[in-house]
Amino acid sequence: MLDKHAAARQYLEKCLEDKARWRQRQAKLTLAEKILIMDKLKEASALFAPLRAHHKKAMDQT
């Protein structure tokens, strides 16, 4: 049981480290890099558009 707790704690600490690293990286993003991310976000959103429409239709029918 102790091992499981230690493993979970280690995993959580790694997640927090990753998050901190990601935050630090984002702080250094240039406007040009952020503009490229916006294109990717929009492309990803378009990919999920059919799924959103399907979900909305299902919700409307309930």
Partner: protein, 185 residues
């Protein structure tokens, strides 16, 4: 799809004298200060003289549309004309806050290696605008500016006082449970 190219087109419209004064607003303007957030279009605040006024009071974007067509962009979608995959929505100045925001707009270089820059609203004006609209997504944007420390507090305080947005700020604080660190309440 290229936001960078779409912003270059906005710069080109200004070079051609079609956009005398403008400021990019909304999520694309926020990009200059905070982390990227999803948006589907580019909102551009434009002074009224860029539009053709009808006797009824209706404003038509005839000249803007013609200039975009001249650059090869003719496809209209629900919110505006599609430019490099991004719909551009031209919004006429409609109140004093918009006017002040245009006056305070700042030139931001898209890429340090390119000679491309566009005017974007000041961070404090994006927040003031979001407060005045007051939808959930506007509040989320304000919180992003606050948590990422991407604003000048004294400039924001001055703008909110000047534009009578103290009440809107109080509502925002009450709804989000945020302490009124501006001391306006």
């Amino acid at each position: 799809m290229s936001l960078s190219k779409a912003l270059c087109v906005i710069q080109e419209l200004q070079k051609r004298g079609i956009l005398p004064r403008y400021a990019i607003t909304g999520a694309i303007a926020a990009l200059a200060y905070i982390e990227p957030t999803l948006t589907n279009d580019i909102d551009v605040l434009v002074e009224v003289s860029a539009f053709d006024s009808m006797a009824s009071g209706l404003l038509l974007s005839t000249r803007l549309d013609a200039a975009l067509a001249d650059l090869g962009y003719c496809e209209r979608v629900d919110v505006g004309i599609l430019v490099e995959g991004w719909p551009i929505q031209f919004i006429p100045v409609s109140n004093e806050l918009d006017e002040a925001s245009l006056d305070s707009a700042v030139l931001k270089k898209i890429d340090p290696n390119m000679d491309v820059g566009v005017f974007v609203m000041r961070a404090e004006d994006i927040i003031a605008k979001a407060l005045s609209i007051g939808r959930e997504k506007d509040y989320a944007r304000i919180e992003a500016f606050l948590t990422q420390n991407a604003l000048d507090i004294s400039l924001l305080r001055d703008r909110l006082v000047e534009q009578n947005l103290i009440g809107a700020w109080s509502v925002f604080c009450a709804k989000t449970g945020m302490k009124d660190f501006l001391g306006l309440d």
